[in-house]
Symmetry: C2
Subunit: 359 residues, 2 copies
DNA sequence: CATTTTTGTTGGATCGATTCAAATTTCGGT
DNA sequence: ACCGAAATTTGAATCGATCCAACAAAAATG
């Protein structure tokens, strides 16, 4: 009873136990962290005292300072926290990260913030041993912020030319070429591209200058891949509409409206994410068009939802889970080296692509 | 260059900056945490020194010990970490928790472990201010473990009679009755129940004793709700097969096999989770049966996937997001009180239920 | 110019543990 | 009973910050 009331006033510390049991701090500490080196009799006495006083066990806050290692990695993004549970790409990635963390018993701390102020603070104050950065919108800012913390970190997506930051990504050019070639070989000649951003906070048709001055080189590379391959088939890429979206519902639909408002409707859409591709399928079907009868679509990413849509999505699959695993491991067993890994992609043909309709 | 090498050897502390800048560590601390009370000239000098020495800013590990508050909540489960990103119910719940955390700038730490040893350690050592417990399998053990930590915690699901633990859940009896009444009113007379566990690690047909001695009273209440209502329609509930699954693919399909192996096939299935209900729809359609033509199904939970299935799922919807929000807030602004909240459910009629087939 | 008030700085105490060299105890062997 | 080795225990130092009472310097007041 008394211990309960006192407990409310001030939590019991290891030192209190030590005093009450008549042993030194050191011994009391050993009872909890290395019980085998304490004489059984003493050990039991201290444990009994702890139990009776309602000691909650060594406080990790104290241990942490001494130990130095938190044993947790932070996963950061500029999206709201719910992004981790909503976005299919993020979810698969998190599964990979989870796996690696589960294997070593490490924890995961989710870090995010809508506004820049808070993001900076959250990154500064996160109790983690390192970061995995989801570099979507605002990725470069995220990297800058994290760099200040001077902890190991890995950027997902090799969108950064900066060779001093560790990163894992896929061969965007090769993946994009695969997608473009597939459609070209099916006879398609009129294309449209649903693009990710070339820089922050922008939607609408991308100008050649926007592409040239791309901040997100991942986006640029994918477009380059598309164009390179299509050129080989004699297609004039300058005429292909490229619409930058924010990779969500609204701007993607706006992009489709804009693309299909023109006279020369495309028979094939190259989407830089499965998310956009799936939205596009939905939009097209809603408009009474047939996929792939009237319009073929190829996505990018390889999220599980793509296999379940009607029609199922043809896509360039990234080894998302594996990327997550590796990213987490890079932090978990960090050796101070900067690593940049480029993973291969896999071309998955499903039902959203077919021969170009006869003129 | 030198600073970089030294930085590798031993991170720079605030005290190092203070010495180098010729101020006390108190002042150096103020420069970072309350810059406005330091004279501009001094402030700039210290900042310059910090910059030049490559100081990463005050280490949260140190601050934490002093401050006492971590500003993060732990979300714990006995499932592997990936559960948070895979399971639809968990995901919606996490969205609610995320929302509450985003609003106050708090972080989320995911805690989990397959084996009991590690779980205990992970809970003991998690750097959090409190816990939200996902009480699925092994929920009671999870509560016991967490209680030892003597931090505030909330159990999701009121499956615990123990009135000394805070918990948030729904009125399981009322929800179950709604589901049962709906089917009975549609003329169904032959039922089967896909049940959650009454105790840990068990699958197969549940015996009356198993139900009586249920550890998970949430499961028991749902069943009680089903049976109470069906009895009112003169249905002999003793004959209704109740199959305990682990709320995943394998055991649910096994349950369906077992249920449909009997002569008296049910025309209506009461599933205690949407997950099982969706698996059941898939299984039935795979067997050439029509839903709801041959068999009607009602789920429980109200996860978003239920609206997207074919046919869309009739279900008892819990206010999952709201539960998550409240749980998180209960920890975030904890006042020492034990709170037990019971939320209402909403009956959502969609396409998976229809009139009983003519004998 | 003396006195108060305001503003800025200092350094010791504290948060709660772990670590490790040194001191002490225990114990087998003679 | 005594010795050295092995097993335990001790207590000071440390981890990296923040807080706060006391003090010093500068500014305002009479």
């Amino acid at each position: 009873m008394a211990s309960l009331l006192e407990g409310q006033a001030r939590p019991i510390r290891l030192a209190d136990i030590a005093k009450a049991a008549g042993v030194s701090h050191g011994t009391a500490s050993n009872v909890f962290s290395r019980p085998e080196i304490v004489r059984a009799e003493v050990r039991e006495r201290v444990k009994a005292v702890a139990e009776q006083m309602g000691y909650a066990g060594p406080d990790p806050k104290g241990r942490l300072l001494r130990a130095g290692k938190v044993n947790a990695i932070g996963v950061a993004t500029t999206e709201p926290l719910s992004y981790f549970f909503d976005d299919p790409f993020a979810r698969v990635m998190m599964a990979g990260i989870s796996e690696a963390c589960d294997a070593t018993g490490a924890g995961i701390a989710l870090v995010s913030a809508a506004n820049q102020e808070k993001l900076a603070w959250n990154i500064q104050s996160a109790l983690v041993d390192g970061f995995v950065l989801f570099c979507i919108e605002g990725g470069s800012r995220l990297v800058d912020l994290t760099r200040e913390r001077r902890l190991p970190f890995v950027a997902l997506e090799l969108g950064f030319q900066d060779e001093t930051v560790s990163a894992i990504g896929v061969d965007n050019v090769a993946g994009a070429r695969l997608a473009a070639r597939h459609l070209a070989e099916l006879g398609h000649r009129r294309f449209a591209v649903l693009s990710l951003g070339f820089a922050d906070n922008r939607t609408g048709f991308a100008t050649p200058e926007a592409v040239r001055s791309a901040v997100y080189t991942g986006t640029r590379d994918r477009l380059a891949g598309y164009f390179e391959e299509l050129s080989r088939f004699g297609i004039d890429t300058a005429k292909i509409p490229v619409y930058e979206t924010e990779n969500e519902e609204k701007s993607t639909r706006a992009g489709l409206e804009a693309i299909f408002a023109t006279g020369e409707r495309p028979t094939a859409i190259l989407a830089m994410s499965d998310r956009m591709a799936l939205i596009a399928i939905d939009w097209l079907i809603g408009r009474g068009l047939n996929v792939p009868g009237d319009v073929s679509i190829v996505g990018f990413d390889g999220v599980p939802d793509g296999a379940l849509s009607t029609p199922p999505l043809t896509t360039i699959a990234q080894p998302i889970t594996e990327i997550g695993r590796r990213a987490a491991r890079m932090i978990l067993d960090h050796d101070g080296a900067v690593r940049r890994e480029t993973m291969g992609v896999e071309f998955v043909v499903r039902g959203s692509t077919g021969p170009a309709p006869k003129a």
